[in-house]
């Protein structure tokens, strides 16, 4: 039995404590390895994209795709089950949000409290265009420099 397996049994028993310690020390949890998939390449690609958008609830800012912990593996399994059941990406996100809250989705939902967030690009772009036009108009009315180094 590889040395690794022996130590892993020990590590498993202390996993929660180690997790708490790592969290306290601000460590990035290591990226992991079992990201199970589908045979069908299109479904697999969709699965991989989706799991990168779902948050690992116990980690310090990692998706379930990257997280090594068991709980992330559970959610990944659930996502695969739901995909097999035919749910769309949006439906899967809603399913998880119903149970874990909006926090679990890295893609913020569209709802009144997030309209400002999603409309920020357009608002800022419009403001930027306005500022540009104003500054330009002012400068176009000013004389050019005669001599320039």
């Amino acid at each position: 039995m590889p040395a690794l397996t022996r130590l892993r049994a020990l590590a498993r028993g202390a996993s929660t404590l180690a997790m708490a310690a790592l969290l306290a020390l601000g460590a990035a949890l290591n990226a992991q390895d079992i990201v199970e998939g589908f045979e069908d390449p299109e479904l697999d690609a969709r699965y991989r994209n989706l799991i990168h958008e779902i948050r690992c609830m116990k980690c310090q800012n990692q998706s379930i795709a990257e997280s090594p912990i068991d709980q992330a593996a559970d959610i990944r399994r659930q996502v695969r089950v739901l995909m097999v059941d035919g749910l769309s990406d949006a439906e899967i996100r809603a399913y998880l949000a119903e149970r874990y809250g909006d926090f679990i989705n890295y893609r913020p939902p569209f709802k009144p409290s997030t309209w400002l967030l999603w409309s920020a690009p357009v608002i800022l772009l419009a403001s930027g265009a306005f500022v540009f036009a104003r500054v330009l108009r002012e400068r176009m009315g000013q004389p050019l420099d005669e001599d320039i180094d």
Binding site: A14, M57, Y100, G101, F103
Partner: protein
């Protein structure tokens, strides 16, 4: 000319949010299930493999659903409190999450059993329905199976007195 003051004002607003943010804890996530009916489940009974434990059994009174496991270190910390709570008459149901039956039974044998009954969620599907992401977690469930509160982390006297006990009283009084 007043437009030159805009950046300073923006910083001030930001500062106010940061100040507020210092005293919020972003890692404590509220459960969306509070105020909603507890997800139904029927799982094998830990102590009696032939029997089942489920939402049917919990209904009818105020009860706790406590998610625990032998591999969970913090569960050990709240265990004594749960025992005293059970002794004072509060019904506590256990959800044994992703654990081994033999180890779980031994744990209860050695440390004491505060649970009316423990349901065995070996795969973790029921836990997902309840939005569980780390043991220990405890749900306060009302007589009509509405989830009244959820606490993440070990339960203790101050938390019980600050959150759970007042909720039972006010909920009971309102009915």
């Amino acid at each position: 000319m007043w437009r030159y003051a805009i950046p300073a004002v923006l910083l001030l607003v930001l500062g106010a949010f940061f100040y507020r943010g210092l005293y919020l804890n972003p890692t404590v996530v509220e459960s969306p299930l509070i105020g909603k009916p507890a997800p139904e489940f029927t799982l094998p009974d830990l102590e009696n493999p032939e029997g089942t434990v489920g939402t049917e059994d919990i209904a009818g009174r105020y009860a706790l659903l406590n998610v625990w496991a032998t591999w969970c270190v913090e569960c050990r910390h709240e265990h004594d409190f749960l025992l005293s709570l059970a002794e004072s008459g509060m019904p506590i149901y256990g959800l044994n999450w992703k654990d081994e039956r033999a180890a779980a039974l031994e744990w209860l044998d050695v440390l004491g059993d505060p649970y009316v009954a423990s349901a065995v969620d070996e795969i973790g599907d029921v836990a997902i329905d309840y939005g569980v992401y780390g043991a220990p977690e405890t749900f306060l469930i009302g007589p009509d199976l509405t989830i009244l509160a959820k606490h993440i982390g070990p339960l203790s006297t101050p938390i019980w007195e600050a959150r759970f006990a007042p909720l039972i009283e006010s909920h009971h009084g309102a009915r």
